[in-house]
């Protein structure tokens, strides 16, 4: 059996989760703590990927990052190609999962008592330091929960990936695409084995994280 899809999926899901954390946590903090024009519009846009069917999302994303699309052309100008590469699979997984990080982290930040942050400020802490020493430690379980959801969603991403990364064996065929392909080819044995592996990964991961969540920040 070919284990490339498994390896690719783990990599894609890990890097997508890291990228969604890097971009999603600041956004969540912004939505939870700042009042600015367009905040409600931004909140709506954030959950859009959960509302739109993944294949439709993939269709539009491909129009943007394809070689005729605005982003695709800009990337091509600096010698990069994103569409139909593993990078596109990472992008697909990010788009599919970022709402989960943002909404959980935002909810977590909103429950942090603003007076505690204020107290830290009166003691001369910078905003950056307040975030790391007060806000995040108090909200970290929510951030962790969002991260776990995002990782699982990224590992299972199918529709967007199929469209923007293609389903190219040995290059962009992730675990969910490989399972689908085996079912299509009537190779149910292999499909079942791959599905079992996917379930196994998630069970082990969730078990590990539930132990980690008992730790303090």
């Amino acid at each position: 059996m070919d284990f490339f899809p498994l390896w690719l999926s783990v990599r894609v899901a890990l890097s997508a989760t890291a990228l969604t954390l890097l971009s999603g946590v600041p956004l969540a903090w912004l939505l939870a703590r700042k009042r600015f024009p367009g905040r409600h519009a931004l909140e709506a846009v954030v959950v859009l990927p959960l509302v739109l069917p993944p294949t439709v999302l993939g269709y539009y994303l491909l129009v943007v990052i394809g070689y005729r699309g605005p982003l695709g052309r800009a990337l091509a100008a600096i010698g990069l190609e994103l569409a139909f590469t593993p990078g596109a699979a990472v992008l697909a997984a990010c788009v599919g999962s970022i709402a989960l990080v943002i909404k959980s982290a935002q909810a977590g930040f909103e429950t942090v008592d603003g007076q505690l942050e204020q107290a830290a400020r009166t003691l001369g802490r910078s905003e950056w330091s307040v975030f790391w020493s007060v806000t995040l430690p108090l909200a970290w379980r929510s951030v962790l929960a969002g991260t776990v959801l995002a990782f699982c969603r990224a590992l299972g991403e199918f529709g967007i990936t199929l469209m923007v990364a293609g389903n190219i064996p040995g290059r962009t065929q992730t675990l969910p695409l490989a399972i689908y392909d085996r079912v299509q080819a009537n190779q149910m044995g292999e499909a079942n084995a791959l599905a079992l592996i996917a379930v196994g990964i998630v069970v082990v991961l969730l078990f590990g994280l539930s132990r980690l969540a008992r730790l303090r920040y």
């Binding site: 490339f4 390896w7 690719l8 990599r11 894609v12 890990l14 890097s15 997508a16 989760t17 890291a18 990228l19 954390l21 890097l22 269709y59 491909l62 129009v63 394809g66 070689y67 005729r68 699309g69 695709g72 190609e81 569409a83 139909f84 590469t85 593993p86 990078g87 990472v90 790391w132 199929l162 469209m163 293609g166 389903n167 190219i168 064996p169 040995g170 290059r171 392909d181 079912v183 299509q184 080819a185 009537n186 920040y217």
Partner: protein, 255 residues
Amino acid sequence: MRRRLVSIVLALASFAFGPASADADPPSLTVFAAADLAFAFNEIAPRFEKATGARVTLVFGSTGNFAHQIRQGGPADVFFAADQSFIDSLIAERVLLRETRTLYAQGRIVLATARPFGPRLTELRGLLDPRVRHVAIANPVHAPYGRAAEQALRNAGLWEALRPKLVFGENIRHTLQFVQAGAAEAGIVARSVASVGEVDWVPVDASMHAPLDQAAAVVRRSPRPELGLAFIQFVNGPEGRPIMKRFGFMLPGEF
């Protein structure tokens, strides 16, 4: 803690920009092919590899998706569509090479019955039987075999009566799975995918629907157009034809 956390996250994020994989060498020929070709092409491709020494990567899926992807620079060298209209519109958009356009087969549809259902249906009228609670066809809005199924049912005067029983598959393999799984007692699917253990089938007369002419062409952006054309000719040649025939395709020169 903070520094460790940030460095772990950054390290993981950088995965995205690392080298693609150990075998990142581009395969010599990437073929995007309609789902109905899966079984036949899995036999043809190894023979082509043996004959030419080239490596072939087969990607199966929906003709409509592939058309969109190739338009956006999808890495196909050759495109085998389930319906020639997709090939023609991509040629008009100068995405495919006109001079490579080849009619490679004509698809046939069959009436499929799930084995556990019992008696094999032998004519379309049999679908009216109340014991047949669901009839699977491919989505007639975009799937060529679905369109043919709708035409056949309309010509048989059964479309209106059967409408409440119809369930639509996304492509022809998906449609067959409804029958294979027994979720639909019967269905109309492509002859080329119908020979699986759980299903009995009888052909539907080709005069019942517009011909399912299937065409292929080489992609303009392909860096190896000769090899792509060679693959098309191989499918149409003395090695490919018997295999295509065995999977129930009508071949050029026969229709």
